[in-house]
Amino acid sequence: MSKILVIAEHLGGKLNSSTARAVSAAIAVKGEAIDVLVLADSADAIAAEAAKIDGVSRVLTVARAENAHPLAAVLAPQIAKAAAGYSHVFVPSTTFGKDVAPRVAALLGVAQVSDVMSVEAAHTFKRPIYAGNAIITVEADATHTVVATIRSASWPAATTGVNSAPVEALTVDAALPTHTRFVELKQGSSDRPDLQSASKVVSGGRGVGSKENFDIIFKFADKIGAGVGASRAAVDAGYVPSDLQVGQTGKIIAPELYMAIGISGAIQHLTGIKDAGTIVAINKDGEAPIFEVADFGLVGDLFKIIPELEAALN
């Protein structure tokens, strides 16, 4: 029978919703146990949140000063040790998970399945390749531990409320390297909904034209309570910081409403929004490829249309 270890992602003492999504994938394996592993400098609050996720059997904590920041070189040896006895190790496919999971897989000497979209059987998964232009079915060798990253946008967060799983402190005997050190995290401070969990996202592209012009995207997003995203062209041009990039090499998101404004719809961008509920495109070029995937399209100048949308909302 399968036993699954889910690695918790957290920041600033709070559990990231990607963890509950990875638990959903673990539930789909239909195993006998799902344990969540929290590696942190102080783990109690995070563990308490994880214990409420329905489907979780136990929460294991490793609280050490070295775990204050998520350095893959420091976390991976601990995860590899903790993985003993588990058939699967699931990690969210966020920059955190993408960084640490392959390092764990290599320490265990096993292959990794990246970006799991669906669980077909305990060792059979679907995942995207070629920027999502093909979906492959992959079978992992059942005699080895499966290390997999879980594509957050494909999985709803497991519910919380009914569960109260036991929390146990774990001691792992792993030598931790000191060759890699955390210096700082420069966070875009924002009261807006987080791009990866927002139910509505408004994104701007090169068509917005400048950093100053991007204010109209931010204002409109605030008006409808949306998170803000951007195309790579907009990020490269310096209109917005890189953590707003949506797409193959940025964030993969699945909001209920996605509004692409001044974005042409390159395949690398579309990869990031395939799972969005409703896509709206606003573009002055009626031939733009974004209209091929949009549920609602509106051809016109964004600088004229956005004020009109705001007026129509009042």
Partner: protein
């Protein structure tokens, strides 16, 4: 120091990939192949470090079939000093690629290894991290800025929460993100010069790497298509439509 650069050939990013009707693979016959964009960025960064005097030699590495030579020549034309071609007819999974790189590291003793954060065909995003684990050295993935001084790399990483800065003692593995640099274009005289640069050819089998690929791809499918929606005539109609769906 020497810098080892991963230089993988992939289907060009402009190609719209088609899945074969029988689900046995994707159509790759006759499609344009190019360097993985992240690997061009890796090579560019290595060349800049050499130009700054931080490194003396830049070596591009390709793992793949016999006809990879022309691709590796592009890397040489861009400016690499030499190339290593690890020859194999099989598709190589990331753990095997990492084991191959480790063998080359043992031989070449580089101070830095720069790989792409992901190859845009398989989108695995694994090789650099696996290599760093096997080598027991630091990894700095998704780099958008690299500074080398005093035997360490200070790397700015593009992470979901923003930009993270870490310090890694050398030797180390760095994987590139898109904004690290803009790769240079290859000029005609460089193509001529590249013809005389050496390419070492090594059979994968002779490296003593066990290619125990544990993943089997059993089926390829086209992604679910989104159906084309409707065009609305103005902002008021759009707001009404979204309100009706309960989205606003």
């Amino acid at each position: 120091m020497k810098i080892l650069v991963g230089y993988k050939r992939v289907v060009d990013y402009n190609v719209r990939i088609q899945v074969k009707p029988d689900g046995s693979g994707v159509v790759t016959d006759g499609v344009k192949l190019s360097a993985n964009p992240f690997d061009d960025i890796a090579l560019e960064e290595a060349l800049r470090l050499r130009e700054k005097g931080v490194a003396e030699e830049v070596i591009v590495v390709g793992i793949g079939p016999a006809d990879l030579t022309a691709h590796l020549r592009n890397g040489l034309a861009m400016g690499a000093n030499r190339a290593i071609h690890v020859v194999t007819g099989d598709a190589v999974q990331p753990l095997t690629a990492a084991r191959v790189f480790l063998k080359l590291i043992e031989k070449e003793q580089p101070g830095l290894v720069i790989l792409g954060k992901q190859a845009i065909d398989d989108d695995a995003n694994q090789t650099g991290q696996m290599l760093a684990a096997l080598w027991d050295r630091p990894q700095a993935t998704f780099a958008s800025k690299v500074e080398i001084a005093d035997g360490k790399a200070t790397v700015t990483r593009e992470v979901d929460a923003g930009l993270e800065v870490i310090e890694a003692e050398l030797p180390a593995v760095i994987t590139t993100d898109l904004r690290l640099n803009e790769p240079r274009f290859i000029k005609l005289p460089d193509i001529m010069k590249a013809k005389s640069k050496p390419i070492d050819t090594i059979e994968l089998g002779s490296l003593g790497v066990e290619a125990n690929d544990q993943l089997k791809t059993t089926h390829y499918a086209a992604p679910a298509k989104r159906s084309k929606g409707v065009m609305v005539k103005d902002a008021a109609e759009l707001v009404a439509a979204l309100r009706q769906k309960g989205l606003l």
